[in-house]
């Protein structure tokens, strides 16, 4: 083997493990070694579970030798630190949960464990998944492996950076307004946000409950299909998970995209779109057309209202969800003389600035007299945004567009101005509001060498279709094979 093991993808590693040409213990040990040596340069992991990972790798080895493996048995993965792992510290990158040891596994994590995956550790993120750059972490920002002065995107920046830098074989992230797709785009890897309800949210620490979804971040499209296969499905513990049958996501991957109607929303190519990103997306559309897809213009007329709508809906849900952090049942407590003072001290010292800002915004917009003007209005416009997609999908099967208006920006560049940071989510937010699935697949590089991603959006439960188109694009290009200078 000329290539280091940590460079492998899930789909390339799995057959080697199944044929016992490689041992999961060997692969895991090599990754743990690399994390120990290199994580300091990126701050991608918040917690590394050396002992646990090696124990799981040994179990996987025994299972594989009995011939009872799955495609994920023995595959070392990283988890965004927003999903609970039994007995393994889960912080949400917040001081308020700094020492929290969950008494249960998130359902998605339990699925991975049952499949025999190896959990290497927990990755950095914006605190409570609130942010687009991973700079809002209480434990310091993550750096982009393509250029350490740049953000990796967010909020699943640690997972995306770990995948891009080969500090894991694959990862899970979560996406409330683009938090899987945008960091995947900025780090040059694949990121899939499933349909709302496709993957159980049980054990996913809640931010915006009507928007949050767990999904894979991987080195190639086939890996995303494999990971989604393992975590998708109805869960009685999450009443918003959908009892829809889970198709075989790998089955149709290599189908031709001949005749596939791909809509391009004209509203996504206006002011604010970086010329280099636009050029990369246009070139990607040309490649899809050359593969036989029919590329046509569609309209999503309420696009310009998506960011405002999102920030009303998300902060309202957040203010309610984060009321549970009171320093009583778990997490950090700052003592006060009274219970009220304990609440105030705990929450003020435990939460970072962006989290407090969003809690306050949500508290205000839900407060007496303002509900109609803000939350109700936002929910009405949300209905109109969903309607836009419904109409567009009558004329096309998929939508292709940019993930982010610019490549990764510099660390610190947008921190002082929350609104500018929010506006960078313009192309990803609508999918969460409408509940539809979306994938980011590498499609080019800026002149500074920073990755650019192509976003493919599908109708509800259209994961197979977007995976298929993303796979066809990936097979026609070599962007996914390029590695950061790390």
């Amino acid at each position: 083997m000329t290539e280091p093991l940590y460079r492998l993808s899930i789909s390339r590693l799995a057959p080697l493990l199944a044929r016992k040409e490689l041992s999961p213990v060997e692969v895991t040990a090599q990754l743990l070694e690399r994390i120990k040596e290199r994580n300091g340069e990126l701050n991608a992991y918040l917690t590394v579970d050396d002992a646990g990972a090696l124990a799981q790798a040994r179990e996987a080895e025994a299972r594989l030798s009995r011939g009872e493996g799955t495609p994920l048995t023995g595959i070392p993965l990283a988890l965004k630190d927003v999903m609970t792992t039994k007995g393994l510290r889960t912080t949400c990158a917040s001081r308020i949960l700094e020492n929290f040891l969950p008494p249960f596994d998130a359902t998605a994590v339990a699925h991975l464990r049952r499949a025999g995956a190896v959990i290497l550790g927990k990755t950095n993120m914006d605190e409570f998944a609130m942010g687009s750059s991973t700079e809002n972490s209480a434990f310091g920002p993550t750096h982009n492996p393509w250029h350490r002065d740049y953000i990796p995107g967010g909020s699943s920046g640690g997972s995306a950076a770990a995948v891009a830098a080969d500090l894991c074989i694959g990862a899970l992230g979560s996406d409330t307004g683009g938090s899987i797709r945008q960091p995947a785009s900025h780090c040059g890897v694949v990121g899939l946000k499933p349909t709302y309800g496709r993957v159980s949210r049980y054990g996913l620490v809640a931010y915006g409950s009507s928007l949050d979804q767990i999904g894979p971040i991987t080195k190639e499209v086939r890996d995303a299909a494999l990971l989604l296969q393992a975590i998708a499905g109805h869960d009685p513990k999450d009443t918003t998970s959908v009892p829809e049958p889970v198709p075989d996501y790998q089955a149709g991957l290599d189908r031709e995209i001949q005749g596939l109607k791909i809509g391009v929303p004209k509203e996504y190519f206006g002011q604010g779109l970086d010329p280099e990103v636009e050029a990369a997306i246009r070139a990607a559309l040309k490649i899809l057309a050359e593969r036989g897809a029919e590329v046509l213009e569609v309209s999503l007329p309420h696009t310009e209202y998506a960011v405002a709508t999102y920030y009303l809906v998300a902060v309202a849900e957040a203010s309610s969800n984060l009321a549970r952090y009171d320093g009583v049942k778990y997490g950090f407590r700052a003592e006060g003389r009274s219970l009220m003072e304990t609440y105030l001290n705990t929450r003020t010292q435990g939460f970072g600035a962006e989290v407090r800002r969003r809690i306050m915004l949500g508290t205000y917009t839900l407060s007496a007299g303002y509900y109609d003007a803000y939350y109700k209005k936002g929910s009405q416009v949300r209905a109109m945004i969903r309607e836009d997609f419904g109409r567009a999908f009558q004329t096309c099967s998929l939508i292709a567009c940019p993930v982010s208006p610019t490549p990764a920006f510099r660390l610190g560049e947008k921190l002082a101005d929350p609104l500018t940071m929010y506006l960078s989510d313009i192309y990803t937010i609508s999918a969460n509001l409408a509940g539809i699935p979306g994938i980011s697949v590498p499609c080019g590089f800026s002149s500074k060498g920073l990755p650019i991603g192509l976003q493919l959006l599908g109708p509800l439960f259209g994961e197979s279709d977007i995976l298929q188109a993303a796979y066809a694009f990936e097979q026609a290009t070599d962007f996914h094979q390029r590695k950061p200078p790390f």
Partner: protein
């Protein structure tokens, strides 16, 4: 509908947060910037549009009312910052 300094302090209290003096100005300005931006939605006539709270058509999910194993008291209390006699301990309320 600009938020005043006093309103910001009131909202902070409702949210059980206290603001450091230097943060009051900053938060007032930033919250007002964001609220001014979301005013953009006023451009749209939403009369008669049903608010969308949940994207997937799901009805109530019921389950059988049977006794199941849950968290043990020990596991439930394990992360508590303070505990006493099988209970969460908080500063005296009355």
């Amino acid at each position: 509908m600009a938020l005043s300094r006093e309103e910001v302090l009131h909202v902070a209290e409702l949210a059980r947060l206290s603001l450091r003096p230097e943060e009051v100005e900053l938060f007032t300005r930033q919250l007002n910037d964001i609220l001014a931006y979301v005013q953009k939605l006023e451009e749209l006539d939403t009369t008669g549009v049903a608010p969308l709270a949940h994207v997937i058509p799901l009805v109530n999910a019921f389950r059988e009312d049977v006794v199941r194993e849950g968290l043990s008291p020990e596991a439930a209390l394990k992360n508590a910052p303070a505990r006493e006699e099988g209970s969460f301990l908080v500063p005296r309320v009355i």
